[in-house]
């Protein structure tokens, strides 16, 4: 096809990407924005398939490309439709890894095509091949580890290994040196594939020491890296749309990474090098008074306490998502409201496993949007709250983050649940949270624990509140 037609199609795609991204940053238009971007992508794919280099010289390759496209589409759409909302973060991680892997393979293929024998690739392409190969490999390897950790194929804890702080800069320098050699000195394939191997190792080395609680920041970082890798494949192939779309994602992904790190009060360098959860056992326990005990509460007592409260604030956490209990929570909240109790939800910026993850889960259960309060809006309210009901949240309620400078999560903004008159914590067991830190909240005299599966306990609470309602009318 005429290259000008392809150029115009690419221009339309680029505009649709920018417009879609703009709309994605407002709740009302977000879904539409995603669709605009998808339309842009469709136009771009069709235009690329009509590229003259394939159409004129390699028509046989259409079969190969077609089969590969269909396989990717079937697996991609199938798994995206089946994945549970709770498993969203690892789904994003794995799709991101696929993109990083694709970027690396594109550059590897261009290297094999352009540098043959003693013939170097043109300087501009040679350099950008090295960059996109290295970044693509890092993103691929890092995303796979992030996926494995979130899917619990490997421990979600931070894994320390000796010299990890030193290893990463050393790897960076060696990779850069190999890149310079392979791009400008000798097109030696062994040198190039050593770069590939070391970049994969760098990806593993970066993410293995990161604890599960920090994984959202890492996924976001890997996302922006894949964007940058895609942009550099655009330089390699001299394809402007790849440059535009890759740079857009690289920039917005970097900004998003910073916003997330800020929401968790975890500067990126801390996320990468501090390794929360790797602290020796006992480090987080210093805040606990000696001989502290926890108090348990029965379902009926908990139901009674909430039924006669003026205001109940529900603090949902990842445990709620795991138990798939968002519908039961909503039912309990409606019942309490019918009894005249004011119900609010306190949403920590990183509730669930990624910022905004909890909003998605509660929206799925038809929780009215107006009842969701962000951390800064709700924190002043806990003083006037009769009951704070913590459902499967842990680290985001840990007062040690505010008071104990020795705690690994010190400084992280938390929900001031401990200021409520009564606190009911629904939890499976006394196991520490994702950050692997003990929570003094559970030993607070105002706190009562309701052990068990969140979904199960909430159902019991619902029937108990119903029964209490009946008794109230009868008396």
């Amino acid at each position: 096809m005429n290259p000008n037609v392809i150029g115009v199609a690419y221009l339309i795609s680029a505009l649709l990407f920018i417009f879609g991204l703009k709309q994605l940053s407002s709740p009302v238009t977000a879904r539409q924005g995603n669709r605009y971007a998808a339309v842009g992508m469709t136009i771009a794919i069709v235009a690329t398939l009509l590229d003259r280099s394939i159409l004129d010289h390699h028509r046989g390759n259409y079969i190969l490309i077609g089969i590969a496209l269909v396989i990717g589409a079937i697996i991609g759409i199938g798994s995206a439709q089946r994945v549970k909302m709770t498993a969203m973060p690892q789904m994003v991680a794995i799709f991101n890894g696929m993109g990083g892997g694709a970027a690396a393979l594109v550059s590897i293929l261009e290297f094999l095509r352009l540098s043959t024998g003693t013939h170097l690739a043109p300087a501009g392409q040679g350099a950008t091949i090295m960059i996109s190969t290295a970044i693509g490999c890092v993103s691929f390897a890092g995303s796979m580890i992030a996926f494995a950790k979130l899917q619990e194929l490997m421990t979600g804890n931070a894994i320390r290994y000796p010299f990890h702080r030193e290893l990463i800069p050393v790897l960076l320098v060696v990779i850069a040196a190999l890149g310079v050699v392979a791009a400008f000195v000798t097109p030696n394939r062994a040198v190039f594939f050593a770069l590939v191997a070391l970049a994969l190792i760098l990806g593993f080395a970066l993410v293995i020491p990161v604890g599960g609680a920090d994984m959202p920041v890492i996924i976001s970082l890997m996302n922006s890296l894949t964007g940058v890798a895609a942009a550099f494949t655009g330089f390699v192939l001299q394809n402007e749309l790849l440059i535009v779309a890759g740079a857009l994602v690289g920039a917005s992904g970097t900004l998003l990474t910073q916003l997330m790190a800020k929401a968790m009060n975890r500067p990126l360098t801390n996320v990468l090098f501090a390794g929360v959860g790797a602290a020796p056992v006992g480090a987080g326990m210093t805040a606990l008074p000696a001989g502290a005990t926890v108090r348990e509460i029965s379902v009926d007592d908990a139901a009674m306490l909430m039924s006669y409260a003026g205001q109940v604030v529900i603090v949902p956490g990842y445990g709620l998502a795991v138990a798939q209990a968002q519908h039961q929570v909503r039912e309990l909240a409606s019942l309490l409201e019918e009894r005249g109790v004011t119900v609010k939800y306190a949403i920590h910026p990183v509730a669930g496993r990624m910022p905004g993850h909890m909003n998605v889960l509660l929206a799925e259960a038809d929780v009215p949007y107006e009842q969701l309060y962000e951390m800064d809006e709700i924190n002043g309210e806990f003083q006037h709250t009769d009951v704070a009901l913590v459902v499967g949240a842990n680290d985001v309620t840990n007062p040690a983050a505010r008071t104990d400078a020795s705690s690994p999560i010190y400084g992280m903004p938390i929900l001031n649940v401990d200021q409520a008159a009564n606190i009911i914590v629904m939890k499976r067991s006394m196991r520490p949270g994702f950050a692997g830190v003990d929570n003094p909240l559970y030993f607070d005299p105002k706190t009562a624990m309701l052990f068990g599966d969140a979904r199960d306990s909430l159902s019991k609470l619902v029937s108990s509140v119903k029964a209490a309602g009946g008794a109230l009318v009868a008396s």
Binding site: L21, Q81, G99, L112, P122, G124, L248, L372
Partner: protein
């Protein structure tokens, strides 16, 4: 450095500025969908995969090109569908039918 590389650099820098500006004021509730949406957009690397697979003419390049297209295609299709599923949740509340 030739003209195409310089031109590419212009495009790259301008797109970075647009990328920063366009999402500067995003509420935290949209962080996850936005990450997922941008994740789908960088699936654009699929175009690169199609172009290199189109040039393939030896067995190793056929294989690598094939894998590259599969990976890019997974990123694009999976990415957009998963984002749409997330964003679907933000609608149809208050008793609306799903």
């Amino acid at each position: 450095m030739n003209d195409t590389v310089i031109l590419g650099a212009y495009v790259f820098i301008l797109a970075i500025i647009v990328g920063f500006e366009v999402i500067a004021r995003v509420p935290s509730m949209l962080h996850t969908p936005l990450m997922s949406g941008t994740n789908a957009i960088h699936g654009v690397v699929l175009l690169g995969a199609i172009l290199v697979a189109g040039q393939a003419d030896t067995v190793p390049t056929y294989i690598l090109g094939f894998i590259a297209v599969v990976l890019g295609s997974l990123n694009v299709f999976g990415g957009f569908v998963v984002t749409d599923r997330m964003l679907q949740m933000f609608h149809g509340r208050r008793g609306a039918q799903r």
